[in-house]
């Protein structure tokens, strides 16, 4: 009887694999779709006179200016590629836009709507804000992990301030005395220890970091809001639980969606949960506090809703519970007073001057929800111009950003923040505590890098996203066919972002050139031939730096089920620390200085430190 059951299971498995292989083939045969550009509204601003709504349309590379009362488009201003943040100058006469893929800030004259200047601004500018005196311009650089400070009149770079890893969002205190920066990737920590993040506090007049507010257990901090009186601050964040097996998803042990609430009203800082006992509110992103401080609003990018918090109740609960309660999912019932359904992937939000209206940018359905704050009801929805048809690629993106998992805990984008990675290591398989720890990998330009999974066990994205991921999301439930094929299509077409270490003309610096020679060498320093399998360029061959085969490079741990590991691609490898399959190497250097004692991961122990540095300089150009 058991044999029959096993046979049925095996048959089902084979059929499943064949079906998924078919899907994969279909996806592979699909030519790169020529996509109409969706607006993809990400952030919102209110004009200084309160009459116009500025919408940052990330997909269209535009700022659209809408009449606040009617929603009519007054102006469309082209900006740089993949804009991620914008703000007005202190005097309201200029609009600054951070263009994340162009590494620039666009300066727009708000009277004419014309672009006045485009300034270089670090690596992947994601947020921009001017100091109150109008002298300095602060830009959060996600890849640079810092805040670039520019002269607000000329764009000349003054300095760079070390921020958290993946510095992305800036908020100025109402009185202009402090600037707060958050970051989306956790700061480096010891392997297999809880993640750590920070809120970087800057004195904007002096361009100095004056404090770093610790956010223990947090990885992925998004927007931060401050009350007008400066006594209350709120940051939206993810609380991953990556040290326990992901098999615990049904117990809520995967992600918490929380706020860090801080300031004089709190008497310090405290992490508060937004989730409920049997329902999660994934990817808290935007946050706003009403002028009278009575309400806090939070968008949930993965749950298509806005959470409404009664501030008085929240503070009362905090003061009544001095012990940490971030894990207590019964807590939110004491201060969350409403959940308002909005569009897909809601991100930026904005309160009208009188606080009567809340505007929410729904990035993945090109709409803006207009909410009456008194009733917590959506009054109407502004539809932005763009393709009417929702393409398969767009549907795939919507799937990627939706929290499909059990009880809505998380979605793909929780671990692949803005379709990248999260800087964390996960215990994915239900094979025992601490077994097969795997580092997260970048999702860019994946075609030609198959198979997937660090053990090379998944031949295609369809299998990776299908049978494998479905297991984590639900245990038994599956994506429907169309949803899965859309998701596969989206992931297959995620583009490669520009490499910041390679010159635009492709020329290498002398150090990079020397490194390339080492990468391609066939003999060692002693003149001895290096076995083919021990050359960098053998396993990391081809344009993407992988021969798509698995090898034992001596980095397996006793907790790994196998030492055979898929050769990872090298594109943008500089961005994705930590390294190795389990994230045990904190830097590229440690791959060889610590984890290659027997030259199994390439012949490197004959290299001088200079040569190793050169090799790394070359790798960073890949």
């Amino acid at each position: 009887m058991r044999r029959i059951a096993l046979a049925i299971c095996a048959g089902a498995l084979i059929l499943g694999v064949i079906w998924h292989a078919g899907l994969a083939k279909a996806a592979a045969q699909t030519a790169a779709p020529v996509e109409e550009r969706y607006a993809s509204p990400l952030e919102l601003l209110l004009s200084p006179d309160g009459t116009r709504l500025y919408v940052l349309c990330q997909g269209a590379d535009e700022v659209r200016v809408l009449h606040l009362a009617t929603g009519a488009v007054l102006q469309t201003i082209p900006v740089g590629h993949v804009p991620r943040g914008f703000s007005f100058s202190a005097d309201g006469e200029r609009l600054f836009v951070a263009n994340s893929w162009d590494d620039t800030v666009t300066v727009i004259d708000t009277k004419t709507g014309r672009v006045k200047a485009t300034w270089a601004a670090g690596f992947e500018p994601s947020s921009v804000i001017e100091d109150r005196a109008g002298k300095l311009l602060y830009v959060a650089d996600r890849i640079g992990n810092n805040i670039t400070v520019l002269d607000a009149a000329t764009g000349e770079q003054k300095t760079t301030l070390a921020a958290g890893r993946g510095a992305s969002y800036l908020t100025m205190a109402a009185d202009g005395s402090r600037l707060y920066a958050t970051h989306v990737y956790p700061n480096p920590t010891t392997h297999r220890t809880p993640p750590k993040s920070e809120i970087t506090v800057i004195d904007p007049a002096r361009a100095r970091v004056v404090d770093r507010m610790a956010l223990p257990d947090i990885a992925g901090v998004f927007h931060l809001a401050l009350s007008r009186d400066g006594r209350l601050g709120v940051a939206a964040e993810l609380h991953p639980k990556n040290l326990v097996p992901m098999a615990q998803v049904e117990h809520g042990w995967m992600f918490g969606d929380t706020l860090t609430v801080f300031g004089a009203d709190v008497g310090g800082s405290v992490e508060v949960p937004l989730d409920e006992l049997d329902r999660y509110y994934a990817y808290p992103f935007g946050v706003a506090i009403t002028q009278d401080k009575s309400r806090i609003y939070v968008t949930h990018g993965g749950s298509e809703c806005v959470t409404v918090i009664d501030t008085k109740k929240l503070l009362a609960y905090i003061h009544a519970h001095p012990e940490p309660f971030a894990e207590d999912l019964s807590a939110s019932a004491h201060y969350v007073v409403a959940r308002i359904a909005v569009g897909k992937n809601p991100r930026g939000l904005l309160l009208s001057r009188d606080g009567a209206r809340l505007y929410v940018a729904n990035r993945l359905d090109d709409t803006i929800s207009v909410i009456a704050t008194r009733s917590s009801q959506v009054m109407h929805t502004i539809r932005l111009a763009g393709p009417e048809k929702v393409s398969a690629l767009r549907r795939g993106e919507q799937t990627f950003y939706h929290a499909y998992a059990f009880q809505g805990q998380f979605g793909c984008s929780n671990c692949h923040i803005d379709s990248t990675f999260d800087g964390l290591q996960w215990d994915l398989e239900p094979d025992g505590f601490g077994k097969d720890i795997v580092d997260n990998r970048l999702l860019e330009d994946l075609r030609g890098t198959e198979p997937f999974k660090w053990n090379g066990g998944n031949p295609s994205i369809a299998v990776e996203c299908g049978p494998r991921t479905e297991k984590y999301f639900w245990r038994s439930q599956t994506f429907d066919d169309r949803t899965l094929s859309d998701l596969v299509l989206y992931i297959r077409h995620l583009p490669l972002r520009p490499n910041r270490w390679r010159a635009a003309n492709g020329e290498l610096t002398p150090a990079q050139e020397r490194g390339r020679t080492i990468f391609n060498r066939a003999t060692d320093r002693l003149g001895q031939p290096i076995a083919e399998r021990n050359r960098c360029a053998y396993c990391h061959s081809g344009p993407k730096g992988t021969n798509q085969k698995s090898f034992d490079v001596g980095t397996g741990k006793v907790t790994d089920n196998s030492g055979m590991l898929d050769t990872p691609q090298l594109m943008n490898v500089a961005l994705t620390a930590p390294y190795l399959h389990d994230g045990s190497a904190r830097s590229l250097e440690e791959i060889w200085t610590v984890y290659n004692p027997h030259d199994q991961h390439g012949r490197t122990n004959d290299l001088t430190k200079d040569e190793l540095n050169d090799l790394i300089e070359y790798l960073r150009t890949r």
């Binding site: 760079t160 070390a162 700061n187 480096p188 920070e198 150090a511 904190r586 830097s587 200085t593 430190k609």
Partner: protein
């Protein structure tokens, strides 16, 4: 006659230039060396000394850095910061690369402090410490004797050569016997400016990197590696250099066998026998400008104002505070004082206005200027 006029014009131009340079540096105070009863009026201080008894992390203080209202002390047991009358100590538990902090530098653009330790290089930024070692970064050696910040570059002197970290690109460039004239690789000190970077290399003299041309130059003792000074003022006093300070286009160099000054054209050397140096064994030198400098030796703290010398120390026999002044003619006058630096073995010097901060082998000293 024409030659004399030209020389006169040049001297006046030089004097005007120096005056202009001085006026552009409001934070560096001038100790006026007027005469008082026939003795040059050299600066006087009341020394307040810090030890573990009043909060210093350790009495062995290798380095000191003034950072606005804060003072950082690199000790054998952690990095101390003195602010608002109290000490706070950073240790390896806070992320410091090693407990022994040998060198310190301030990034004036960001306010970050860089600490060279016996176990790597650390950046202290608003309480967060990021550490770079020879294993986790491109740093070539963990024993960091010297550190300097210039623009977006951090320059490092180590037991195995020197290196530069470009903080914007995260790029490490190493300098050693393979790509510079460094014959030994024991780099002890570094001083960096936008035009030139100097390294004091123990046994390899003084190295200069011209940042404009990218060309390295090397300054050696013209007498070679012997202890005799046959050619005084012909070049560097000795190959065993310990510290360098590049300021206003002039280089001050400390060695274990005397000290040197190079203004870009002429060398001038200082020995105990012909100057006011209390010892030829000099651990550190810190230039104020082209003309004036402070020296930390194994036998006390010394100041040179371009003509006269002053020495501040506990008496070598009795331990009682003493100050002596040596004028241009070589006449030495003892000045009665009530306080002295914590110890004669001086390893680090920094300034705040007229005040001094001095790292010694038995505590940190604050020299409070007495007008």
């Amino acid at each position: 006659m024409k030659k004399t006029i030209c020389m006169g014009i040049l001297l006046i131009a030089g004097a005007v230039g120096l005056a202009a340079q001085s006026s552009a540096r409001p934070t560096r105070k001038i100790h006026a060396a007027t005469q008082l009863n026939g003795v040059p009026a050299m600066p006087r201080f009341r020394f307040e000394n810090f030890t573990t008894a009043n909060g210093l992390p350790d009495n062995h203080v290798f380095s000191v850095l003034v950072d606005g209202d804060r003072v950082w002390a690199g000790t054998e047991n952690g990095l101390g910061v003195y602010e608002g009358g109290t000490w706070k100590t950073y240790t390896t538990a806070d992320g410091l690369a090693h407990r022994a902090v040998l060198s310190l530098a301030l990034d004036k653009r960001t306010g970050d402090v860089w600490a060279g330790t016996m176990g790597g290089l650390s950046r202290i930024s608003a309480g967060r410490i990021d550490s770079f070692t020879q294993l986790n970064s491109g740093l070539s050696n963990d024993v960091v004797y010297g550190v300097a910040v210039e623009g977006e570059n951090v320059w490092v002197a180590m037991a195995a050569g020197a290196c530069r970290l470009n903080t914007r690109m995260g790029e490490w460039s190493l300098y050693n016997e393979r790509n510079t004239p460094m014959t030994e690789i024991w780099a002890y000190g570094v001083s960096a400016a936008a035009d030139k970077v100097y390294f004091a290399v123990w046994g390899s003299g003084l190295l200069e990197l011209n940042q404009v041309t990218g060309v390295w130059d090397k300054y050696d003792d013209p007498d070679g590696e012997n202890e005799m000074v046959l050619l005084k003022d012909q070049g560097l006093i000795h190959e065993i250099t310990t510290s360098v300070s590049y300021v206003d286009g002039a280089v001050w160099v400390a060695t274990y066998f005397g000290d040197s000054h190079y203004d870009g054209r002429h060398w001038h050397n200082f020995l105990t026998k012909d100057s006011g140096l209390p010892s030829n064994f000099t651990n550190t030198v810190k230039g104020i400008d082209r003309k004036r400098a402070w020296f930390g030796t194994d036998k006390g703290l010394a100041y040179f104002d371009g003509t006269n010398w002053a020495v501040y120390r506990p008496n070598l026999d009795t331990g009682k505070p003493e100050m002596s002044v040596r004028d241009a003619a070589g006449k030495v006058t003892e000045i009665s004082v009530d306080t002295a630096p914590a110890h004669n073995y001086v390893l680090g010097i920094d300034f705040r206005g007229h005040d001094l901060w001095v790292a010694t082998a038995k505590g940190l000293s604050h020299g409070i200027y007495q007008p």
